[in-house]
């Protein structure tokens, strides 16, 4: 069930282009509350027009990092630059940044229109211009006919769009979004994901979004920084994060993964061979890894990269082939999840698309099956 990014990749991404200067630069930022270190020596560069996701569980420091960008928290150490300007000592009301809050934080005593107009009023924009821009923004989020309502007269999805309109009306160069879809139900969330990406591409604003939902991060963002205990575990495009996780934490946090423990027995420039007690076979990977021969490593294989068959695969040389018995099948409609117990006792998760109808499926409970995967499927992770 790999989630595909919904944005089209451009030719050369800004983070690959050495001529680009980052729009947001976070340099060795640490934030401690008493003895608790919420953000620990984080450095990040985010470029103009990016849709950047900070992904992590609760307590990973992602929200604290976002609040430091908005100016609600001051870094204990390190510096934050936005558009080349050091943000130290600049209060929230003077930053070229707007934020959409997790609770939406709509002003309860003001109508939708007044809520959206609030930011423009603070800048003493002319009344006629305020009316025009508020009207245009409400049309963009399809709330024109709710302009006179109070926030408590709106549904959750409508409130979310008011909050978005309010944070975008000042045309910030950088928009921070704290769990923007957290309070919506699943169907509305999927629909809103597309809307958010469309609005972001239309306005060309840089988005930094905090989320704990890996699917949300995968579908919307150009790049993801996975955070764990205040540290960035990995930064990369959704594909990089999913296909080439650099640590066990990232591999296990994003999607599901089968982890085989093993020992490097052959270490060549074009491949490695890992002997695994866990898998009961040798694991062959068609690229070099930076671990010495004899080292103990983990090999991560995604469930959808494993093929199941009742016949021994043709031309197999005993590498990347395991055998086991099907213990559980979960039918999800588009795909099925198989839990296969290997001879070694390890349970492996396999997902396969349902190419035929359920009743015609060749593999069923207690069948003895062969699990195979291609040489590129495994990712070697050091301890």
């Amino acid at each position: 069930m790999a989630v595909q990014p919904i944005r089209k990749p451009t030719r050369l991404e800004p983070w690959q282009d050495p001529g680009q200067t980052p729009y947001v630069r976070i340099e060795k930022v640490t934030k401690a509350f008493g003895d608790f270190v919420a953000v620990d020596d984080v450095s990040l560069s985010i470029y103009r027009g990016e849709f950047f996701a900070l992904l992590g569980g609760s307590g990973s420091g992602k929200t604290t990092l976002l609040r430091m960008l908005a100016g609600f928290e001051t870094p204990t150490e390190g510096k934050i630059f936005i558009d080349g300007v050091d943000m130290a000592g600049i209060p929230p009301y003077e930053r070229p940044v707007n934020m959409m809050f997790q609770s939406y934080a709509l002003f309860p005593h003001m109508t939708v229109e007044q809520n959206v107009a609030f930011g423009l009023k603070q800048d003493n924009v002319a009344k006629t211009e305020i009316r025009e821009r508020v009207g245009a923004m409400l049309d963009l989020v399809q709330l024109g006919r709710f302009a006179k309502r109070k926030p408590h007269q709106l549904s959750g999805g409508q409130r979310q769009r008011v909050a978005l309109a309010r944070s975008l009306v000042k045309r910030p160069k950088l928009l921070l979004l704290d769990e923007p879809l957290g309070a919506l139900d699943k169907r509305l969330r999927e629909q809103t994901q597309f809307e958010l990406v469309n609005i972001q591409e239309k306005l060309g604003v840089t988005f930094i979004v905090v989320t704990h939902d890996q699917e949300e991060a995968m579908t919307m963002s150009s790049r993801i920084a996975v955070m764990n205990h205040g540290v960035i575990a990995q930064t990369g495009t959704p594909t990089e994060i999913y296909e080439y996780p650099q640590s066990r934490f990232v591999a296990e946090f994003i999607g599901s993964v089968n982890m085989f423990e093993g020992r490097v027995v052959e270490d060549q420039s074009d491949h490695v061979l890992i002997r695994s007690e866990d898998a009961g076979c040798d694991l062959y990977i068609n690229h070099a890894v930076a671990v010495p021969s004899g080292a103990t490593v983990g090999v991560a294989v995604r469930p959808e990269k494993i093929a199941l068959s009742k016949e021994p695969p043709a031309g197999a040389d005993g590498r990347n082939v395991a055998t086991g018995i099907v213990r559980e099948i979960a039918y999800l409609g588009d795909v099925s999840i198989y839990l296969v117990e290997l001879k070694t006792g390890k349970t492996v998760r396999v997902t396969a698309p349902n190419l035929v109808r359920r009743t015609e499926m060749p593999i069923t409970w207690d069948d003895e099956v062969y699990l195979t995967w291609r040489p590129f499927a495994g990712v070697v992770l050091a301890q």
Binding site: A70, G71, F72, P91, P92, Y93, V97, N98, M99, F101, Q102, S103, A105, F107, P108, H109, F118, G119, Q122, D123, K150, H152, Q153, L154, S155, G157, Q158, R166, S167, K170
Partner: protein, 277 residues
């Protein structure tokens, strides 16, 4: 059913305990007899006499004046104190400070009154102000102890107020002072109104603190009532008390009507949001 019997009995007893004395007071305000405790037939003559009793009327007026002034000052100071307690963040000794603001709530009135009297006398000797004791000193004294109540009300309202509302306003370009007046104040307005009403009522009720810090020519209504008891209660007092009870009841009735209507309106709005989503 036995349980129900006990509960309804308890209910009647409880309400009787609360309201029989007040009902009795109202009934006796229409007493013809000069003696408060002897029924002599129905009459409204004490109400008429009350209108010509200048001492009582001026005391009532003074009480209202002091109550309104001290409640207003207490609301301003109490709101500032509540804001500081709710928004200052954590610091060493926070619990101590939080407790100290509520101490005047449980401080015996006698001690509050005595200490304020000592302060006023000392101040007069040192800087010549306040010049004697009167309306000013009563107002200051009432402000002191009612402020604590207001601070507690405002603090608890602010704690339940989502802080991200203030952050959002700041994020949109409003400076902290503007955030307070445009966002925080309108949202906590009901708490401020109820704080003012509570302070007003407390000041109107007080007899102990006022007796300590009042001077000649500044006698509040409770003080007049209290001192007249020494010569036996005049039925006029009953009439006056009945009027006060009536005014307070009407006020509470109107306030609860308004609150109920707002509540119903809000429920309708929320239903509309769910259906019209």
């Amino acid at each position: 059913m036995k349980r129900m019997g006990f509960l309804s009995w308890a209910l009647w007893f409880g309400y009787a305990f609360l309201y029989v004395p007040i009902v009795l007071l109202i009934v006796y305000s229409f007493n013809e007899s000069r003696l408060v405790t002897v029924w002599g037939g129905f009459s409204t003559k004490w109400y008429a006499e009350l209108l010509h009793n200048d001492q009582l009327l001026s005391a009532a007026w003074l009480s209202l004046e002091v109550a309104a002034m001290s409640a207003t000052v207490a609301v301003v100071l109490g709101t500032i104190a509540g804001l500081a307690l709710a928004r200052f963040g954590r610091f060493r000794g926070r619990t101590l400070f939080g407790g100290m603001i509520t101490a005047p709530l449980v401080m015996p009135d006698v001690i509050t009154g005595l200490s304020l009297l000592l302060l006023f006398v000392a101040l007069e000797q040192l800087i010549g102000w306040p010049d004697g004791r009167g309306v000013t000193t009563i107002t200051i004294a009432h402000t002191t102890f009612t402020m604590a109540y207001v601070a507690v009300i405002i603090q608890s309202r602010l704690v339940s107020l989502d802080e991200s509302l203030e952050e959002a306003a700041m994020d949109l370009g409003a400076r902290p002072a503007k955030v307070f007046f445009v966002i925080t104040l309108p949202i906590i307005a009901p708490a401020i109104v109820s704080g003012w009403l509570l302070a007003f009522t407390l000041s109107l009720d007080d007899v102990v603190v006022a007796s300590f810090v009042s001077g000649p020519g500044s006698t509040t209504l409770p003080m007049v009532i209290f001192s007249s008891v020494k010569f036996g209660i005049s039925p006029q007092i009953n009439a006056l008390a009945t009027l006060m009870v009536t005014v307070v009841s009407v006020g509470i009735f109107i306030a609860s009507l308004i609150i109920n209507r707002q509540e119903r309106q809000k429920q309708r709005d929320e239903q509309m949001a769910v259906q019209g989503g």
